[in-house]
Structure formats: structure tokens, C-alpha cells
């Protein structure tokens, strides 16, 4: 059990005033003044509609906002007069907050929320991202209900997203976690999720918070800890997730927080994932994940160029990571014209598995291994875009399923290179 000594005295005082709760909502923020008001209102509505008799608290863990976000959260909490609403709480709905640092850090924010949940003995908890503008009161219920009423320990979200959103998830994280751990969780890197006090406490005690590695990519680390711990997991549909525009420079930090965390977890969890074969679906509450097909402007030429630059310039790095046959195949596809260029599923899976094995053996600096994956991922994204350019929702789903099966089929190859000394 975590002793909570890293929490401030003021925050501990607020927690003591709240007392034990049934439901806890964690809200990590940093300069979210534009969206936070409506999100807190939605959370309140969700709790009052579905859990009016439960003791509940909203906890704002702020990473040093300078736009008055914490004040807005408190203001919404005070503003109880909602003449248009017919919602009334039978118990006090507390809203408290703390500034955990002067700079945002997802790991520290989650640790604060988990420690608070443990101290308040919360039965069901959720974390909501302050950027999830399209959140509905039903989404709150969809995340809380499976934990509070059905005994699940982790509720992973599913969304309605554009077919070209979350490509790292669809092309690497989802298929690889599914193939290795045998469980089909669509969104393993969770920004909104529900969890039981049990799994929260276990993660709080187990995770290595003392160094930056333990705090990095905590969203995925939490999912992997729940899978490895054999906890009951389900998925819940939360509606549409907005398209987020990102810059090319965002890819490497994202790879560190996701692929780096996954590769690192594989090392310690070898005994758990190595005997697994095949995969099983997890119970899904609400609709199945859905895709939007609106046209989207994508700079494909640039993706292709960055792949080519990577393959040619990083030859010496790839020689340490990839097998000669994989490297030869990469050069072969790189030589193809833009129309013919394809990064086939089999080659992509072999590439990812060889990267995972190289990471385990630390053939070069581990962070360099993760960085070297970025240009190759862009090549795979290019292929995914071309293959699904005119594809329907079904076509996209079938392509993702085919990739997942390829990951499952080639799992023995990973085990082989994982154990080999070369």
C-alpha cells in the first residue's frame, strides 16, 4: 500500500474532509480552461443521473495551469443552481483539487489520483481526459457501471473514430498486445478509463514510481499491469473521439510512451505472454468500435520520403537491429515507385518483432531503437492509407483483422529470436 506521503498537506486535508467514497472521478489537467467547464458539468450530470445515491468525488490533479483551469473546476463545483436540470444528488458530490507540480506529467497525475482513490477507499474510479470534448453523461455511466455493478476491474474505452486516426494503435499496439497476451483490447493506451479500487491499489504499489521510466507511458503501463495481473477487463463504447492534428515531431515521444513501454513490459512479463496462443475477445458494453469515413487531407508524399530517408540513412543502425533478410526486403520495397510501394503486413510484423527482440537484448541504446522505428512506421502508415483509401468501414476492419492474425501467426518467430543469442 502506498503511504501517500507525496501528496501535499492541503490535499490530504481535503481528502480527510471528503471521507470514504463509492465513486471517484480523476481529472488530470493542464491549461484546459477552454474545455474544462463543460467536461466537469458532463461528469456531474453523468454521476447524478446514474449514481445519485452514491458518495462521489471529482478530483482535479493539475500540472501547473496558468489559465485558471483549477479555478474553473472549483467554480463549476460551487455552481449548483441548475434550474434547467432535474438532477439532484442525494449525497454530497465533492469536487477537490491539487497542483501536483508546476509542469504537466501524466504519470504523476495518475499516481495522485490512484493514491487519493486508495485513501478514500473508492469502489469504482474513472479517469477522464480534459481534451475529450465530445464526452456525454452516458459515457460516465458506461465507464463506471461495469466496475461498480458488474465486478469488472478495468474498463477500456472504444470510440467512433476516423479510419485514419490512431494508426499506431491499429497497426502496432492493438495487434501486438492481442497476439502476445491473447486479449483483444482496442484502446490499450487509455486517456479515459474506469477501474476498480483493487486494480488501482495493486498498480500503485507495484509500479516503479521512483524513476522517470515508471512514470512514462503510464496509460499503457496500467493496461498491461491489469492484463498481467489477470484482472477482469471489458470495453465500453464512449462515442465519437475528435480528430487530433499532430506534428511530425510528436511521433518519437509517442513511440517512447507506447512502443517503448510495451517492449519494456515484454521483458519482465515473458512468463506471462510466452505460453499464450491465439486471442479472445473481451466483453464490450455498448456499440462496437466504429469508424468515420470522411475525406481527410494527408501528406502521403512526405510519409514516403521520410521512410526512404530512414531506410537509406539509418542503414548502420538497422544492421544492428534487423536481420539481413528483413533489411534486404526493406531496401527492395524502398526501390519501388510510389504507386507500387507497399509495406506488406508480414514484413511489418517481422520488423516489429525484430525491434522488440533487439530492445530486449539492448543491441544499441534502447531509446535509439525506438527512434529508429519512426521512419519505418511512416512507411507502414503510407501503405495503410493507400490500401484503405477508398475502403468502407468493413474493409478497414478486415484489413486490421488480417494484420492481427499475421501478428498471431508470427508469434513463434518472436519467441525464436527472443531466445536466440545473436
Amino acid at each position: 500500500m502506498e503511504d501517500g506521503t507525496f501528496l501535499t498537506d492541503d490535499f490530504l486535508r481535503q481528502l480527510i474532509n471528503v471521507g470514504e467514497v463509492d465513486i471517484l472521478v480523476g481529472l488530470p489537467t493542464h491549461n484546459n480552461a477552454r474545455t474544462i467547464g463543460s467536461i466537469v458539468q458532463t461528469i456531474r450530470s453523468g454521476i447524478l443521473r446514474s449514481f445519485p445515491r452514491e458518495r462521489a468525488v471529482i478530483i482535479n490533479a493539475d500540472g501547473g495551469s496558468r489559465d485558471g483551469t483549477p479555478d474553473l473546476v472549483r467554480a463549476v463545483a460551487i455552481d449548483d443552481a441548475r434550474p434547467a436540470s432535474n438532477l439532484y444528488a442525494l449525497r454530497t458530490l465533492h469536487v477537490i483539487g491539487t497542483k501536483y507540480a508546476n509542469a504537466p506529467h501524466n504519470g504523476v497525475a495518475l499516481r495522485t489520483i490512484l493514491a487519493a482513490a486508495e485513501l478514500l477507499r473508492a469502489k469504482a474510479c474513472i479517469v477522464v481526459s480534459p481534451e475529450f470534448e465530445s464526452i456525454q453523461p452516458d459515457s460516465i455511466s458506461n465507464l463506471l457501471h461495469p466496475v461498480y455493478n458488474e465486478g469488472f476491474d478495468l474498463v477500456s474505452p472504444t470510440y467512433r473514430r476516423h479510419k485514419f486516426d490512431g494508426l499506431l494503435m491499429t497497426n502496432l499496439l492493438y495487434p501486438m498486445i492481442r497476439a502476445l497476451y491473447g486479449i483483444r483490447i482496442r484502446e490499450s493506451y487509455m486517456t479515459e478509463f474506469g477501474f476498480s479500487g483493487r486494480v488501482g491499489s495493486q498498480f500503485l504499489g507495484q509500479n516503479n514510481w521512483s524513476d522517470s521510466v515508471g512514470e512514462n507511458g503510464v496509460e499503457l503501463r496500467f493496461t498491461l499491469a491489469a492484463i498481467s495481473g489477470g484482472f477482469r477487463i471489458c470495453q465500453s463504447f464512449l462515442g465519437e473521439k475528435e480528430h487530433v492534428e499532430r506534428r511530425a515531431a510528436d511521433l518519437v515521444p509517442t513511440l517512447r510512451q507506447t512502443v517503448g513501454v510495451l517492449f519494456s513490459a515484454l521483458e519482465s512479463g515473458f512468463d506471462i505472454w510466452s505460453p499464450v496462443s491465439g486471442s479472445q475477445p473481451v466483453p464490450t458494453i455498448g456499440s462496437d468500435p466504429d469508424v468515420l469515413l470522411d475525406p481527410l487531407r494527408v501528406n502521403r508524399k512526405r510519409l514516403r520520403e521520410m521512410f526512404t530517408t530512414g531506410v537509406n540513412e539509418l542503414e548502420s543502425v538497422f544492421q544492428s537491429i534487423l536481420s539481413p533478410s528483413t533489411l534486404t526486403e526493406l531496401h527492395a520495397i524502398d526501390a519501388l515507385g510510389e504507386e507500387e510501394f507497399r509495406y506488406p503486413a508480414q514484413l511489418w510484423v517481422k520488423t516489429v518483432y525484430e525491434f522488440a527482440a533487439a530492445y530486449r537484448k539492448s543491441v544499441i541504446n534502447r531509446d535509439h531503437i525506438i527512434q529508429a522505428l519512426a521512419p519505418l512506421f511512416r512507411g507502414r502508415v503510407f501503405t495503410f492509407l493507400v490500401e484503405n483509401r477508398n475502403g468502407s468501414a468493413n474493409d478497414v476492419a478486415n484489413n486490421i483483422e488480417a494484420l492481427c492474425l499475421e501478428f498471431e501467426r508470427l508469434k513463434p518467430y518472436l519467441l525464436e529470436i527472443w531466445k536466440s543469442k545473436q
Partner: protein
């Protein structure tokens, strides 16, 4: 006359025999020291080789770029090279210790200075190895960062980083060994200054467009075409 010659020869033979008898035990001691030294050096070499193999020193050396250098000049692996180096230094140390037992005038000072030089030699080898390791690490980091940021000529950038670090390391190594300190200082100053001046001129004049693009990418966010990413990865 004849007796005198015989007497002198006998005297000379006696002196030689006395001298030989005087030096023989020392010579034997020297040979014993050389033999024992060889045995110890050999054992040290075998132990060191095992330890280096155990810690995968060859991979470390590969990362440092030292293995590639050795391979190019047809030398054995870094583990083998270091083991042999330690063997020879140890054995040479024992041989010189044996030679000093002979008490040859003038040689004592040279031997003492060799023993003073050995620790500096080890420090120099240590600096050289870790310097090469740092050069390999930082040049690869520069290469990856440049490729992922679409900076033109990433390999040239990486090579520049490696060269600067190696020049810097070599200057420290020579200083540690006490070899041509003044020459090295002047040469390093000239080489480093010339490199920096060259880079400044190349970047300022030859790479005006690149510099412009780089600065625009860095500080101007309006260029949508360059700024937008493919898509959200998560």
C-alpha cells in the same frame, strides 16, 4: 714475458669468472622473474578475456565504433586486443623488473620511468575507449534526430559530431601520454578553429537556404505543409 701474458690471461679469466659468478644469480633471478611474469601475464590475460566476454565487451566496442576500425586494419576483436595488450604490459613489466635486478647502470632510471608511464598508458586507453563510445553514441543520436526531424544531410551531421568528439578525445589522450603536448595543443586549436569556421561559413553561405528553412521550421508555425503530421498516431 710468457709468464706475464699467461698471468694476465689467467687474471682476466678469473675476473670474467668472478664477474660471471657475480651476475649469474642475478641473471637466473631475471629469467625466473621473466618466466613467472609470463605465467602471471598469461593467467591475467585468460581471466580478463573471460570477463570481457562475459560482459559482452565486443558489443560495447562495436557500439563505440572501435570494432569496425580494428576490422578494417585486419586486427583481432577488441576483447582479444585488450587481453593481449594487458598481457604484454604485464610481462614487459616483469621483464624490466628482472633487468633492474641485473643492476646495469643507467637502465634503472629508464625502467623506473616506464613504471611511472604504465598507469598513464592505462588511463589513456580508458579515455580513448570511452571517448570512442561517446562518439558512437552521440553521432547515432544526431543521425536519428536528424532523420526524424527531416534535417538535410543527416549522415554528414552525424559524421561531424563523431569527428569533433574524436578529435577532442585524441587531444586528451595525447596530453595524458605527454606526447608532443605543445604540438597537439596548437594542432588541436587550429583544427578545431578551422572546423568551426568552416561549419560557420558553410552553414551561413553554402547552406543559406537550409538555414532559412531550418529556422522557419523551428520558429514559424504557419507553414502548414511542413508542419502538419501525417495523422494522429494514438
Amino acid at each position: 714475458m710468457r709468464e706475464m701474458i699467461i698471468s694476465e690471461l689467467t687474471q682476466a679469466m678469473h675476473d670474467l669468472a668472478r664477474g660471471f659468478a657475480h651476475y649469474l644469480p642475478r641473471l637466473i633471478v631475471m629469467l625466473i622473474l621473466a618466466f613467472v611474469g609470463w605465467l602471471i601475464a598469461y593467467v591475467v590475460k585468460v581471466i580478463l578475456r573471460s570477463i570481457l566476454r562475459l560482459i559482452n565487451f565486443d558489443r560495447l566496442s562495436e557500439n563505440a565504433g572501435a570494432s569496425q576500425l580494428l576490422h578494417k586494419v585486419a586486427l583481432p576483436s577488441a576483447t582479444e586486443m585488450l587481453s593481449r595488450f594487458v598481457f604484454w604490459v604485464t610481462w614487459l613489466g616483469f621483464i624490466l623488473l628482472g633487468v633492474s635486478v641485473l643492476g646495469i647502470l643507467g637502465l634503472q632510471e629508464q625502467i623506473a620511468s616506464f613504471f611511472l608511464f604504465v598507469p598513464r598508458l592505462f588511463v589513456a586507453v580508458f579515455i580513448l575507449f570511452f571517448g570512442l563510445l561517446a562518439a558512437g553514441f552521440f553521432s547515432r543520436a544526431a543521425l536519428l534526430a536528424a532523420v526524424n526531424a527531416s534535417v538535410p544531410s543527416p549522415r554528414l551531421l552525424s559524421l561531424a559530431v563523431r569527428s569533433i568528439i574524436i578529435v577532442f578525445v585524441l587531444s586528451i589522450v595525447f596530453e595524458e601520454l605527454g606526447l608532443a603536448q605543445q604540438t597537439m595543443l596548437v594542432a588541436f586549436g587550429i583544427a578545431f578553429g578551422a572546423l568551426m569556421l568552416g561549419l560557420a561559413i558553410a552553414f551561413g553561405i553554402g547552406g543559406r537556404e537550409i538555414a532559412k528553412r531550418f529556422l522557419e521550421q523551428k520558429f514559424v508555425r504557419e507553414d502548414k505543409e511542413q508542419d502538419e503530421d501525417e495523422l494522429s498516431p494514438l
